[in-house]
Amino acid sequence: MLKAVTGRILSSLLVIVGSSALVFVIMYLLPGDPVASMIDISSASPETIANLRHQLGIDRPFLLQLADYFGKLLRGDFGQSVLNSEPVLPKIAKHFPATLALAAASAAVSVIVGVILGVLSAIHRNKPIDLIARIVGLLGISMPAFWTGILLLLIFSIRLGWFPAMGSDGWRTLVLPALTLGLIGAGFIVRMVRNSMLEVIGDAFVVTLRAKGLSERAVMYRHALRNALIPAVTMIGVLAGEMLAGTVVIETVFSRQGIGRIIADAIMAKDLPVVQGVILFSSLVYVVVNLLVDLSYAVIDPRVRRSA
């Protein structure tokens, strides 16, 4: 058991090293001159450009730059903004709580709505509740987040005035963005839970339980549900990525100050070190969440606990 856990943590560390390198390679390979976003190249003298390139360290060989990049990462240096030389990591740290609050609230909405609807939908297959669940599932994966957000803004904040239209202070600013992002997650989870629940209901052990005279309620909630939730937990790991990515659009729509907003602004300003820093940070969060998800299998699923 302990061995499996350490193995899993070690391989996550490897993936983290890999994704850090990948982010660097993408930024290195992509066209687009960082110097061009700092000064006007057409009017600057070749020496100024060369100096600036030297200062940024981008005139050195690839491997040296990569080594330098990792050295800095280990010291917690995620680089600086090319616009105002502000270090990236403190900036992320300052804005991450707002994003974390949004992601957590959305995940809560997704899991609660998704699991309840998904289970009811599978148990009452082809009944009205199933239809509702399937519509929620389809809408969740089909509505663009920015549009859902704008619709909610129009109705609940501009028309009804129930919630503020912008800002990131207090729970009231969190409701609409969390609902927007939560609907997407709920869509994914409903579909996932419904399918895995239907699959489990068709399993031989469910037939056995029914044949031995167990009440339908006990069969469903005590036995089928527990088995159906295992794939749904994996989904939560995947969803963490969706939530992080979704915040880019949602924080723009609702004018929230989070790391999604930082990256959206940095992209418009062509501030590549900030883009790179936020992407790296997001992928670290993603790897850690998925590690936790993997480790939680051992708690949920006795089969994993025994085999590990």
């Binding site: 992509l30 687009g32 803004l153 129009l154 068709g202 044949a211 990515a245 997001s282």
Partner: protein, 298 residues
Amino acid sequence: MRQSTAAEAVLQRRKWELPAYRGRARRIRPADLFVYAAGALILIIAICAAFPQWIAPYSPTDMMMDAIMQGPSAAHPFGTDYYGRDILSLVVYGSRDSLYIGFMSVLVGGLAGGAIGTLSGYVGGALDAVLMRIVDVLMTIPGILLALAIAAAMGPGMGNIVLAVAAASVPGYARVMRGQTISIKNRPFVTASRAIGATPFAIFWKHVLPNSLSPLLVMATLGIGTAILTGSGLSFLGLGVLKEIPDWGALLSQGRGYLTVAWWICTYPGLAITLLVLAVNIVGDWLRDRLDPKRKEA
């Protein structure tokens, strides 16, 4: 006696579950109606994209100074924007870009990801190990962030958006196709054809490839929906193409500034995206139920 009633009860319950399955072939289920409606909707949008001039009531660039920011009416069913352009006409013309992004990026991403996955699974060994570790790592960067980074570094442009969205989808395709290829290459019929002397390429071409296409097809169909969403998200964030006729995401983004006074500018392009993606997803679900033997039994 009691025992047989218990067994009957079990059978009864099983029967109660079966009719939906048994009746499938005989009558048209309501679910099929959704699929027809979705197909019709995709067809209508495709016609809009192919012949917008036949459908749009006005020219999308026509600025009607006497009809600025008007709400939906008989003359302008979707209203007009700040420049007096007809929103319905803009939506009709904008369909072209959304469809283009959706289909092209799935084509590019699906082919690239499918090729990597099939190669990795079929060849195996060190190549497989290396390719799959790269895919693992790519998977850790959420798709839209990867697309954002690529689109940001390459600058705005339709081709760049397609590439960015396609690149973000490559790891998913690669992983699924690898799994599929490995499961097929170890089936007895493949071993049998190897035994009668078929070349690796012939096995690949005649057995492995045709048998792995259906999951790819299902994934690609559902992927079109995702691609349209990601693409319109990128142009909503301002990474799209600045041109006279905006695509749906850009149109929506332009309308954001007038949200308090003109709800229709944002609402209709968003509705168009939703309906198109919804239709594509309904068709994708239907294809999956048709092609996946495991689901057919369930």
